[in-house]
């Protein structure tokens, strides 16, 4: 089982959390001016990387709050978690170092 660090509550077991999909996708503001291609890209297309993935999680059975995470999709190990609105890890390369 994964041990996930909630930025508010600390380390907790995986079953307390819900996965919220890819992170860092900003909802467009000028939606009426978007083409079908742009809209389809926003709604459906995902980066789905093999490696580090920026994603959203929610501490559903804990504080109930959303947070951001950087996780390796091969080892499943979390490189970092941080509060929504805070700056994430400085760079991807730094996070890769932390995974070693």
């Amino acid at each position: 089982m994964l041990e996930i660090e909630c930025p508010w509550c600390g380390k907790r077991a995986e079953i307390e959390f819900s996965y919220g999909g890819e992170g860092g996708i900003a909802r467009p503001t000028q939606t009426e001016q978007m083409s079908d291609a742009q809209w389809g890209d926003y709604v459906f297309m995902r980066s789905n990387p093999k490696g580090l993935h920026h994603e959203q999680w929610r501490h559903t059975s804990g504080c109930g709050r959303w947070f951001s995470a950087l996780r390796d999709t091969v080892s499943y190990r979390f490189a970092a978690t941080w509060k929504v609105g805070e700056a994430g890890p400085q760079s991807m390369s730094q996070s890769k170092e932390n995974l070693k």
Binding site: L2, D36, V43, T73
Partner: protein, 414 residues
């Protein structure tokens, strides 16, 4: 190709079974092919087979990163059925079902297709309404389906516990559905491909897709560049990784999906039981082991292993429904990487890159579609346009909004 029959078995038994030939060659890749299929799983091999057989394309290379049939083809729970909800999906899966029914004869290879029926359980009034709707839709499309009452279920499975935490209120049942031997499907297609002159190249990872002026010119591999004007990506969980090499984004997320098998038991389980609501899928293989499937892990992952809570939840559901199995020991547990699409339907067709074709998004239920998927994919590649059966399954539907929502019939909640 050395034909398998009772006579060849007898003949070889006279010579201590030393006369059997290798079932396929291990050729060096040529410098150029007419068509390259990336991925030698069931779907990729079926694509190459139907291209060679139905469309007369003989200069085909199937390139595989690992060994053939070593990905999801070897990791699924082998269920074959065609009871989907929407017309487009039902017709596609039913095409596959028709091919399954003659596949052993077609390939001269026993794929052990066993039409023992599949039950999809309903645990609530809404489940039962959905089941009645789906069964009616199936019958309108000429697919065999019926609604079973709890008493019907009890008659087929006397040891089932109907009064579970989520009571079993009925089921849909497709008598022609069943299971097949997954490895034999890959080997059967591989052997038939090889006999038609298709090169199966294993242990050769594709690391790049070569393009010139928006058209495909070949693939970069660990063994160098292999040229081809048509390249088909049939790579399941790794589709997004390959598509990215061609500058494409896909609406796919790769998730771990787990399964496990028990120690072999005497025949006890005469059909296949699936439950969408509680994520438990169970059948008994011809070898005797109970084959149990779980739901996907919520998070994305390429690790070919799943998390413990998911497998625990599945086994709780199995033991709740079948208390008789509570002391059965589990032999092996594993995970595959499934390519989940937003509408639980596959993507089969052309891409914005000329000469590049894609077949992915089968998610949790690709095995049942193996022959049909290869059949329509071969048509799409040979004619450079989709067959009527896979026209609706284009990548474009995520821009036009014509989704084919099969979350209900896909039977694994995403």
């Amino acid at each position: 190709m050395q034909k398998f029959s009772i006579w060849s078995l007898l003949k070889n038994s006279m010579t201590y079974h030393e006369g059997w030939q290798r079932q396929w060659r291990s050729p060096r890749p040529k410098s150029e092919y007419d068509v390259i299929v990336v991925g030698a799983g069931g779907h990729g091999l079926a694509t190459a087979y139907y291209l060679a057989k139905e469309h007369g394309v003989r200069n085909i290379g199937v390139i595989e990163r690992g060994w053939l049939g070593g990905g999801n083809t070897a990791r699924n729970t082998t269920i074959v059925r065609s009871n989907y909800l929407w017309d487009e999906a039902t017709l596609l899966y039913e095409k596959s079902m028709k091919l399954w029914e003659h596949l052993s004869q077609e390939l001269n290879y026993n794929v052990m297709f066993s039409q023992r029926g599949v039950m999809n359980l309903g645990h609530s009034l809404q489940d039962m309404r959905d089941i009645e709707r789906r069964v009616s839709a199936n019958r309108l499309n000429g697919v065999d389906a019926k609604v079973l009452s709890p008493a019907d279920i009890q008659q087929m499975l006397p040891f089932i516990n109907l009064n579970t935490r989520y009571p079993i209120m009925g089921a849909s049942y497709q008598p022609r559905a069943g299971v097949a031997r997954h490895d034999a499907v890959a080997w059967g297609f591989a052997r038939a491909c090889d006999a038609l002159g298709v090169d199966l190249i294993q242990n050769c990872e594709v690391t790049g897709i070569c393009r010139e002026e928006g058209a495909v010119t070949g693939v970069q591999t660990r063994e160098g560049v292999i040229r081809a004007k048509k390249v088909a990506l049939v790579a399941a969980g790794h589709s997004s990784v390959l598509a990215q090499m061609a500058g494409l984004r896909l609406p796919i997320e790769s998730h771990p999906l787990q399964a496990l098998v028990s120690e072999p038991l005497k025949p006890i389980f005469p059909t296949v039981v699936m439950s969408n609501a509680i994520h438990a899928y169970i059948s008994q293989s011809d070898k005797g082991d109970l084959v149990i499937g779980a739901g996907i892990d919520a998070y994305t992952g390429y690790g070919q292993r799943g998390s413990y809570p998911v497998i625990e939840q599945t086994l709780q559901a199995i033991v709740e429904m079948f208390p008789i199995f509570s002391r059965v020991r589990m032999n092996r547990q594993w995970g595959g990487i499934v390519d989940v699409s937003p509408d639980a339907s596959p993507i089969i067709g052309l891409t914005p890159v000329k000469g590049l074709y894609i077949n992915c998004g089968w998610g949790t239920g690709g095995f049942k579609a193996t022959p049909g998927s290869g059949w329509v994919m071969a048509h799409t590649i040979a004619h450079n346009r989709p067959h009527a059966l896979n026209e609706a399954f284009s990548l474009d539907r995520f821009y036009s909004g014509h989704l084919i929502d099969e979350h209900g019939a896909a039977a694994v909640a995403h």
